[in-house]
Every structure is written in structure tokens, then in C-alpha cells.
Symmetry: C2
Subunit: 263 residues, 2 copies
Amino acid sequence: MEGVGVVKALGAEVRASDLAPGDRVVPLDPMLGTWRSLAALPAASLYRIPECLPELPAACLTINPPTALCLLERFVDLEEGSVIVQNGANSAIGKAVVEVAASRGIKTLNIVRDRPNWDDVAERLTAIGATAVIRPEEAKAAGAGWKPALGLDCVGGESATAIAKLLRPGGTMVTYGAMSLKPISISAPLLIFKDLRIRGFALSKESTPDLKAKLLDRVITLAQKGLFASSRFEEFALEDYQEALQFCERGFRDSKAILRISH
Amino acid sequence: MEGVGVVKALGAEVRASDLAPGDRVVPLDPMLGTWRSLAALPAASLYRIPECLPELPAACLTINPPTALCLLERFVDLEEGSVIVQNGANSAIGKAVVEVAASRGIKTLNIVRDRPNWDDVAERLTAIGATAVIRPEEAKAAGAGWKPALGLDCVGGESATAIAKLLRPGGTMVTYGAMSLKPISISAPLLIFKDLRIRGFALSKESTPDLKAKLLDRVITLAQKGLFASSRFEEFALEDYQEALQFCERGFRDSKAILRISH
């Protein structure tokens, strides 16, 4: 899905103004096939990344930051000073949400599960703009006065219910993941008498290459202002994919696994 | 909440064009107090019912028919030929939904729990305009080709989940009751990849007397065309309220309990 590559040579019909050998490019089409060393691809399915962006963050630009932009823009009109709440706030999307929200003056209440290095995680989220970082069991008490207009849920189950309870009347919860593998469960009185709106979002559902390119233009602009630079990376050779998978299955990971493909 | 009364006399400041002794009136303010034989009330909190409407249906006009109108108008733009699905279709609101939908050329897929007189119930729903009436266990198979844009849920639990599964992509489910006392439970993939919208509705939340009067104007117009006349009634004297409550607790009731207050 994601990945960054380098243009080796141009086909005869590619305009030199669109791409040049040496350009770093990311895929615009889903499932374009990024786990390979060489590929002949249509220029329209590639997006050129500016040289100033480092290689590893560039490899992770096409899903998480555009998702964060959509989550903050498609569902509720948020103004400066608006409040949102999210669970899984230490995920790559969660961190991108914190950064985009902070850049717009939107306050974020961030729920992060307890873990050995919880204080470090909270400190790093605060450093990139989180207004508050709390543990799930603190949500009810700590979130009481916040009245968020938007809740972002990537966990489901009890965690989604807790977010719905924190929302202000007329608030919207958007589910974009299901880390707990449990369904979203909302009591009827909560839905009815708080007039909640429950929605779902998947970037993959609606991204034409054209829409995705427009989102990436905005992601790049934000990245050049310093956003989306907080990820940590753990590199693996493609041959060591099993080791990479084991790394991904570890709980409370703080870095993204990157496969490096040599040729 | 609901009820019909007769104007006995007018206060000095009430204009004769607004109300006259003998007029049948229903309450516009919630909790106005209808379980009594006499009351002095502001004219603005009462709505005059035309003489052509029978007494008992008039006593049940202020909640169920306006709720049906709101459920069909506030959430999804339904055109002639659109499809909706609802559970609890034999409730007073469910029947009002069938009638209003039929009057607008909207198709209704109606789920009614199995019961001794299921065939009678289905026949009566069909007579007032239901496109199809099915049992809950038939929903998956019978509803497969319908792709409703709107689902109305007054049951919750598994029944709400079944309705969400029947909806077309981008469809909306509105919960306005919780007969099963179980929460609404939707899997994250359903919410995310079908882009469902889950909402709640309560008439009581938003009805100013002015809004309610406008809704009742439209209800009366429809009632004069023959809608909302299918309810059956069981009358009880107010003194026999315990008997009325027992009647209300019976499963699979087909008539509404009406308290008659003598004076």
C-alpha cells in the first residue's frame, strides 16, 4: 500500500516536467505493488515527493496523514478552540491527528492505554501538540468538562462507548479501525437523547488517484512546516520479513516497521 | 403526554377566533398534565382538532404521527420509489410510518416478530400500504435485494444489527426506541466499509409548541385523507388504571389503551 521509490528512467510518453530520473515517488493507486525492486508504472499513478523530505517519512505519507486530514474535515466543522477526543492516540494516525489539530488550534483529548513507557508516550504526544493525554480509566473523570464535538475511534468495544459518552449533545463519533476486534456498542438512550451521530471512515473507499494527489499536496505543505516528522522507524531487509512481522505483532510498539528492498 | 379534551369556557384574553367552547383540543406543551378532568391552560399550549376527526384517534395524534413524519423527513432525502426498512412495524409509530411512506410512494420492508396472529397483522399492514411484511429470521434472505436507504429501529440489539446489515452503502439507521433494552451494536467493518450513518431521534427533544403545531397541521391534513385511522383502542376508566397497565404489559398487543376521565 505505502512505500517510496526512485524514478530510474522515463518512458517515451512521459513529459519531463512531470517526472525526472532521481525523483522520489509514492504510489497513488491502491495495491500498486510496492514490495519489489523494479516496476514499469504509468506516471499518473505516481506522486513526486519534494527532495527536502527525508526518505523514511516519505515512505509513510500516503495513508496516515491523509486519513488524519479527512477525519478532521469530512464530518464536523471544527473551529479554532473546538475540542476532539480520540483513542489509540499513539498510533501513526492518532499522532497525525494531534499535529493537524494543533496546527488549526483544535484541542485534543488523547486516550492512550497504560503501558510501561506511558509517561514517555504522553510527553511525546504533548510535544507535538496534544492538549491532554489520559489513560482509558481516566476518561470519564478527566473528560467530563471537555464536551468534544468529534470523537475518533480506532479501537471499538468499550473504548468506543466511552468516547460516545464523552461527546457533547449532537456530537459525531467516527470509527476508522477496530483494534479490539469488538463491535461499536451504543445504548439507545445515549443515541436518542444526546442526538449522537455514528459514522465510519476508510481512506481506501474513496480515494481516486486525483483526490489522493490533492490530499498529498496538502500533506506535503504541512510536512514542510514540520508536521508528520515524529514517527520512529525500525528498518528490515525484505528478506527478513518474518522478523518484521514479529516486530509488528509486539504490543505497545513505538516505531513503524520499514522494509528496505535492495536491487 | 397525549390526550384530547374539550374547551369548556374561554378566559377573557383568549380571542374567539383561536378557540371556542366545544372545540376538541390536544396539548402542544409536553407534560401539560392530561390525567385530570378539568384544567385552566394557556390557549397557546392547545391545538384545535377539526370536528371531522373521531375522538379516540384525535387523542393519539400528537406523538406517533409527528414522529413518523420526522423519521421519514429529517435524515435521508427519500424520493418516490425509495426503499426503507423498519422493525417493530406493528407499533403505532411503525404503522404511521407505513401510511406516510405509502402516501409518498416510498416502499417499506416491515419486520414484525412472530406471534399467534402474525398473518392478520401482516395483512392489516399490507392493507394500509406496507410493501412487504417479514419475520425477523427472514430479514437476511427476504431483504437482500431491497437495499434500503433508511432503516428505522425501535428494538435495538440483534434487530438493529440486522437492519444495519440490510442497508445500502451510505445508508442511515435511526434508532428511536429500545424495546429489547439492548444497545445498538455495529461491527466496525460494517460501519467503515458500508459508510453507514447511525443516528437517534426523539420528538420530545426538539418540539417547541410552534414546531409541534406545524407538524400537527400536516398530520391533520394527512388524517383528513384517511391516514392514522388504523389504530384499535381499548378503553378504561381512569379509576381502572391498574387494569389498563396490565393490558399494556401484555405481549403482542394490537390495540392502544385509552383512559377515559369522567367529570
